[in-house]
């Protein structure tokens, strides 16, 4: 994929061919849906193919409980089709809560807890064996159950080129460049060359029901080309959506506030600089190191404090690094879900030295 070679067909024609090829070669087709626009398009392309062939495919959704109501509305619709085998999991799972220093996890669908909504009768409510209760591990476990299936994901290169490169570094099944292999698990990205324009055009052309949150974001003046992302509501990468949640889905916001600590604070301050952002050093502190030490010492949970401390010990002593560490401390990212580049300064230093030699 070093060079981009354009073909004499549209992304839509190409995606249909890719999906037809997968239906030809795999008995089990599994589509991961998130209620986002990309997986929505992927699902409908597969549905059209399945209907034409009189076949069924599996739609997989791992429900994290802290989801928009509008997400659930779309997912429920997608799960209900006669050509779809619903794999909608509403099972106990731990979700990191980026908004709170006291409640590190949301134990989504935890037994005996007051969930933010009722479980859906169509969903899988319990699993008769031990399974990993974390998001990514659950995916791996689920895929391992059916290693002969084709796993389809709506990843697009223009959205995240780095992620696309990372997953396609090793060619996929049968040497395919728009897929990847991990052991014997075969993953495919039939929409990899689609742009955001193509995605919306397809949704418009086929009048596909999509997540209404996109319309609200659009009415609300958000950029069409970046930033419109839909995922669960409290994760390290998505908690900023809490700022808008009271104006998009007030009832979901109320229920979330009752469910877990930190929501109202994040909603009020997540868009402001000081509380969750590490761009400006608060005036009370002389250095990032001082601010970092303050935050570190005040983590209530000893185990997490030590986890942070152990990681930071291995990192270079510099203000840039301290600043990055503050960023992680502010969103309680003790698992390093949003890692920063610790070697960058060294690299820049080396480049500078080289230039100094040359000059």
């Amino acid at each position: 994929m070093a060079l981009k070679t354009y073909k004499d067909k549209t992304v839509l024609e190409a995606a249909r061919e890719r999906i037809a090829m997968l239906f030809d070669n795999f008995e089990k087709i599994n589509v991961s849906i998130s209620s986002g626009k990309d997986s929505c398009v992927l699902y409908h392309l597969c549905l059209q193919e399945a209907v034409e062939r009189g076949r069924k495919f599996t739609a997989f959704f791992l429900d994290q409980e802290a989801e928009y109501e509008n997400t659930i509305i779309v997912v429920r619709r997608m799960m209900q089709h006669e050509h779809v085998i619903p794999m909608w999991f509403q099972v106990p799972i731990y979700m990191t809560n980026a908004t709170s220093y006291s409640e590190y996890f949301l134990y989504a669908w935890g037994p005996g807890e007051k969930w933010i909504r009722e479980k859906d009768p169509m969903a899988v409510h319990s699993i008769g064996e031990a399974y990993p209760q974390r998001f990514y591990d659950f995916f791996k476990w689920y895929e391992g159950k059916n290693p002969d299936a084709a796993y389809l994901v709506g990843l697009r290169a223009d959205e995240s080129l780095t992620r696309y490169r990372a997953v396609t570094k090793h060619p996929g099944w049968n040497g395919i460049r728009w897929g990847s292999m991990d052991g014997d698990i075969k993953t495919f990205y039939p929409l990899y060359d689609w742009t955001v324009y193509d995605v919306w055009k397809f949704i418009y052309d086929y009048d596909i029901p999509y997540n209404k949150i996109y319309d609200l974001m659009f009415l609300d003046g958000q950029s069409i080309y970046k930033g419109m992302r839909i995922s669960n509501l409290i994760h390290e990468k998505s908690y900023k959506c809490l700022v808008d949640l009271p104006r998009y889905e007030p009832e979901t916001y109320n229920r979330l506030c009752e469910r877990i600590a930190g929501i109202a604070t994040a909603s009020r301050y997540a868009s402001e600089k000081l509380m969750f952002d590490n761009k400006t050093l608060p005036a009370h502190y002389k250095s990032w190191k001082e601010f970092r030490d303050f935050l570190l010492q005040n983590i209530p949970d000893r185990e997490h404090r030590e986890k942070f401390a152990r990681r930071f010990e291995k990192q270079k002593a510099s203000e840039k690094i301290y600043q990055a560490q503050v960023g992680q401390l502010l969103i309680n990212d003790y698992e390093n879900a949003r890692p920063f580049d610790t070697k960058r300064e060294e690299r820049i230093g080396r480049i500078k030295e080289k230039w100094a030699e040359l000059l």
């Binding site: 073909k7 549209t10 060359d193 324009y197 055009k201 397809f202 003046g221 069409i224 104006r247 998009y248």
Partner: protein, 174 residues
């Protein structure tokens, strides 16, 4: 503190429903408290001035008599006070609450903080309704303090996908 009870019986929580007596004082007898963290952006200040000019000074400033200053310290209504000075008003209507300093500080925060939020979808409906009532686009923008961008987005009720109807699918690549 003058209170005129209207409904003689207190309600369930024992709160009297009263009309608090407002009084007119010289604008020079008021002063801003030093602690209020609330700042109103210029755009909203302009809107506030327009609003006062159009609808009048609708409700009194809440203040408390400060013995040391010999003036009324504002609890709620600082920005309206600023507008009154700007437009050359010499008097203001106030409600004089006898509150301890620490209660006054907290009431200021509560008055700022206890507010609803406009649901995006309902706001969109409202804008469309105003248009149906025959209010011109520019009028709506001006009266509600909206930029054309915000107004157009709110008015567009066909959904985001509609905006892409004329796009042609891009070339596939490998």
């Amino acid at each position: 503190m003058g209170r005129i009870a209207i409904a003689g019986t207190p309600n369930v929580l024992g709160i009297d429903i009263v009309i608090r007596e407002a009084k007119i004082v010289s604008i020079n007898d008021l002063f801003a408290n030093a602690y209020n963290p609330n700042r109103m952006p210029k755009k909203e200040m302009d809107l506030l001035r327009e609003c006062i000019i159009k609808y009048g000074f609708l409700f009194p400033i809440i203040a408390s008599w400060d013995r040391n200053a010999g003036k009324y310290r504002i609890i709620d209504g600082f920005h309206r006070f600023e507008i009154l000075k700007q437009i050359g008003a010499r008097k203001a209507s106030i409600i004089d609450l006898e509150l301890s300093y620490h209660d006054a500080v907290q009431l200021t925060v509560l008055m700022n903080r206890i507010k609803g939020m406009h649901q995006v979808e309902l706001m969109s409906d409202l804008v469309v309704k105003l248009e149906d009532l025959g209010v011109a686009d520019e009028e709506i923008c001006k009266n509600l303090g909206m930029e054309p961008e915000e107004y157009l987005r709110l008015k567009q009720q066909l959904g985001i996908a509609h905006s892409f109807r004329n796009h042609e699918y891009s070339r596939s690549w490998e």
